[in-house]
Amino acid sequence: MFGRQPVGLAFVSPYVVFLVMIFAYPLGLAVWMSFHDYFFAAPGVAVDRPFVGFDNYTAVLGDPAVRRAFLNILIFLVINVPLTVVLSLILASALNAAIPFRTFFRVSFYVPYLTASVAVVGVWLFLFNSDGLVNKVLGPLAPEPSWLVNTGLAMPVVAIYVTWKQLGFFILLYLAALQNVPKELYEAAAVDGASRSRAFRSVTVPGVRPATTLVVLLATITGANLFTEPYLLTGGGGPNGTSTSPVLLMYQRGIEQGEPGVAAAIGMVLVIGVLAVSLVNRRLLERD
């Protein structure tokens, strides 16, 4: 009835309780909240939270700030995802070969991924403020207004920051995938007279395609959950909301302004959007 080794149930029970409490129940609650006029009340107080159908959703979809946030995240993904795939694959292939100082390179590529975004944002602020090193080096070429307060540049800077920050993790994924590309294929390509770049395109790239699907999926999910960077790097999604992300908006609407129903609806739209983008990506990547 409980399987051959029912003691296993005892072993997993804390984890199951954890998943139900922290994952399944809140997920259900999010769906429920998005269809109700939910508001905060003191613990234990019974209040009426009427069912409002799709009201929260129509409010969310009709809100220009929300639409701007979704457009921002689209801009973010268009920059971040291709850049992540290309750079991490190139660096992983370079790292995969026998090279001197390998440990040094590995450590230096992973360090941004391992360290707190809050801390690293601090130094990016220092580098990219209007009076910072980047503008000093660029001199007259520095953008006006400066990077983080420029409506056209704020989101791209955030996207590049996140690409840089996460790259180590994706390099790790590609390094693992590269171990599975058969060496014979490179030898065969060489026998056929393929150049190094040709071998990269015809052997490496198709060889790591499953990893690419995974990288695109994970980069999309991470990107869709952008919060810390616009909150700190561009001072809460500025200028003029051109770097606001949906999660930042969820925080502002749900907790600062006390409208968790609306925030939950933004979350649901975001999940559906991410799923749709992922399905399209998968179709495109796994074609041919």
Binding site: G3, Q5, F23, A97, P112, T115, L173, Q179, A211
Partner: protein, 299 residues
């Protein structure tokens, strides 16, 4: 594109496009250049963080990127300590991280072991669930979790409230499972014949054999809560309860508006937040190998 192939057996020293990407060759110059440029781009901000944290007067000129003995000070560290109480916030970060590590090592190992080696009802379902958790991002759960933990359970400004959503790291459970799966079946059969119970087998036989996995999982789990910002930020309004990352972020967002010279102190705080992770990673980096993640990719 065709290049003439060297005779078989001839050692290629250098050529425009060597036909076989020889794994043993000591570094193609172009590859080394690319890697070095990459490493510089990755490391420079950290170097600049350290330099900036030691500057008496912020110097953003290119020359300021080099240490200048006339402009060095440790005052920024005491300055940030005055503002966010480093000792207290590090303690909070430590308790938060320690709680998550404890939960993950105790309950995560139990779950990983059961998922790998025990046959019980619902195992497949639980495994699927565990994978699903890793794809559904935490931020989406933020609002309902906030309602649940802060409003319903009244756990705002408490360590328990901070720890709960991260108490068992699913990625670590997955790593544990993969490692327990790799152990030879005969080992367990022998232990069963000797009449050992499952808990004894886990503690006496399986666990000592997967010590490297334990270390990897502990390292991976450590950086989660230590670096986490959004969740503890949401539930701690009391400054005495805030982890270092949250206190530092509040400092950044509050002083960014009135910016006379907040950078020295800010970067000093950043260095304190980054240092433990970098030290741990450099010390244990040889354990932190791509195959661990690889086991995740291959399923």
């Amino acid at each position: 594109m065709a290049t003439t192939l060297p005779p078989v057996g001839q050692v290629t020293v250098i050529s425009a496009a060597p036909p076989v990407p020889d794994q043993r060759r000591r570094g193609h110059p172009l590859r080394l250049v690319a890697l070095t440029l990459g490493a510089l781009m990755f490391l420079f901000p950290f170097y600049y963080m350290l330099i900036g944290s030691l500057q008496d007067e912020p110097d953003t000129t290119p020359a300021g990127a080099l240490p200048n003995p006339g402009n060095l000070t440790a005052a920024n560290y005491s300055d940030i300590d005055d503002r966010i109480n480093l000792g207290r916030t590090i303690l909070n970060s430590g308790i938060f991280t320690g709680g998550v590590l404890l939960g993950t090592v105790v309950f995560g190992v139990l779950a990983g072991y059961a998922l790998a080696r025990l046959h019980f009802r619902g195992r497949g379902l639980l495994f699927g669930f565990m994978l699903l958790v890793q794809v559904i991002p935490f931020q989406l759960m933020t609002i309902p979790l906030y309602v649940l933990i802060v409003r319903n359970y009244g756990l705002a400004d408490s360590y328990l409230g901070m720890i709960l959503p991260f108490a068992i790291n699913s990625t670590a459970v997955f790593i544990f499972r993969q490692y327990f799966l790799q152990l030879p079946k005969e080992l367990f059969e022998a232990a069963h014949v000797d009449g050992a119970g499952e808990l004894t087998i886990l503690l006496r036989i399986a666990l000592p054999l997967v010590r490297p996995a334990l270390l990897t999982a502990v390292l991976l789990t450590f950086i989660g809560p230590w670096n986490e910002f959004l969740w503890p930020f949401l539930i701690t309004k009391d400054q005495d309860m805030q982890p270092l990352a949250v206190a530092l972020a509040n400092y950044i967002s509050n002083v960014a508006a009135r910016a006379t010279n907040p950078y020295g102190a800010l970067l000093a705080g950043a260095c304190v937040l980054v240092a433990p992770v970098v030290v741990l990673f450099v010390a244990f980096q040889r354990h932190f190998v791509s195959t661990d993640i690889g086991s995740g990719v291959k399923g």
